[in-house]
Symmetry: C2
């Protein structure tokens, strides 16, 4: 429980700065994003609207931004040990304009009308390795396919879109897959990962040529198991080479 030692009575929340986390999960078939759902504070009378948002909250004045992002993600979803990378700060004065967003802030914040700038973080994880558990003001914490994201609070749909753009750019400058694929994988599985992130089909021959040229893969004698015929060759990442290009430049264009 890495955050159990934070004494809430001591750490003061900064009313003007928040963090939001865009956690992408890859499940070998599609890309998903982790969203929380909170109870509708005005659900008793009139319309009942389901309220989705990114896991996010105000920073505490004794933390740096990275620490805030880790804490907030943990407090709302129980997830820990996720490498979060900052990608953009969002500060439109009109970020909070819908009535049910305003109402909700009144129910949880000391200064609900204070203008808040949010610093957004993202990560890409192997979905099956993380089981979110809702806590605090999150009543649910679940994965949603990025092809069908519900309407989110504040400017969170915009933040998710910017995170997807950042991820696509990242894909072209760094190798990807080490933490997301099984230890031994086929080129088809690796291609699927790239396709899911880019949201487009790639030419099989081109992809294979380019990725093999990068010399980050080790071909194995072993072949794919559990398929009736045309068993594909298995590969492993060359960890040393992978880390080397990760810290210089990958230059992988499509």
């Amino acid at each position: 429980m890495p955050y159990s030692n934070i004494d809430k009575s001591k750490s003061k929340l900064n009313p003007h700065v928040s963090v939001d986390c865009v956690i992408f999960g890859f499940d070998f078939d599609e890309l998903k994003v982790l969203l929380i759902e909170r109870e509708n504070p005005s659900s008793e009378g009139g319309l009942s609207i389901r309220n989705f948002s990114l896991p996010g909250n105000l920073i505490s004045d004794d933390e740096n931004l990275d620490q805030s992002a880790k804490r907030v993600l943990y407090e709302l979803t129980g997830l820990t040990n996720i490498f979060l990378e900052q990608f953009y700060a969002f500060g439109d004065p009109e970020r909070v304009k819908r009535k049910h967003d305003t109402e909700w802030l009144k129910s949880i914040r000391d200064e609900p009308s204070a203008r808040v700038i949010t610093v957004a973080y993202y990560s890409l994880v192997k979905l099956e390795a993380y089981s979110p558990t809702a806590a605090s003001f999150a009543k649910k914490a679940e994965w949603y396919p990025i092809t069908s994201i519900p309407a989110l609070a504040f400017d969170h749909n915009h933040i998710v879109n910017k995170a997807i753009d950042t991820l696509k750019l990242k894909l072209q400058t760094q190798p990807l897959g080490f933490e997301l694929l099984p230890e031994k994988f086929t080129l088809g599985q690796l291609q699927k990962l790239y396709e899911v992130i880019l949201g487009t089909d790639l030419d099989k021959r081109n992809f294979r040529r380019k990725i093999l040229n990068k010399k980050i893969l080790i071909p194995l004698i072993e072949k794919q198991k559990g398929v009736p015929h045309k068993q594909a060759q298995l590969f492993m990442f060359d960890k040393e080479k992978y880390e080397e290009v990760k810290n210089t430049y990958f230059g992988f264009d499509f």
Copy 2:
């Protein structure tokens, strides 16, 4: 005067969020950064320390972050019409720890001890096209070579280093030079631009092969003037192709 219509008495500064601008200037020979210098508030007694910093200040509550960055840059240096790009938010609780930084904040801010998160912007411009003029609390606004940057206020040296890293990465994903070089230029001049940003010499043949492969240059019949012999061929950017790769992916590795 694009900001003359801002009524200072109406726009309230947010005590917790600032913007800082890292403006890089290219002068065909080296890369420089725009710094301001302010008077030392404690210079009368004891040590007289010259106080350098990036142009930066608190955001105003009626602006978004991009607008704040433009306004602050203009107010302190007179520069306008510069495309500023946000690159990172800095929020270490210990950003302000040196005594003369603390003293200075007391002299200019309503809440000098408030913790401030700063959102940093950067730009790369042709140095000769911009003549900074210090104003407001900046007593000087001048260009300094990035190879000899003085000690800066707060965490500003760290911010400059992060901006340089961002610029280097950008160089590998986007074409560069359109606004920085003369309309007609030699490959040597273009290579110099890349070398100055990367802070390293590049192999001439490799550079030429790679940049020509990108098909963004148009070779001209005209040759370089004003040099006694070995006049180099001149090139122009193919504006259409340049914009096209700028909006997709450049993939230029070294």
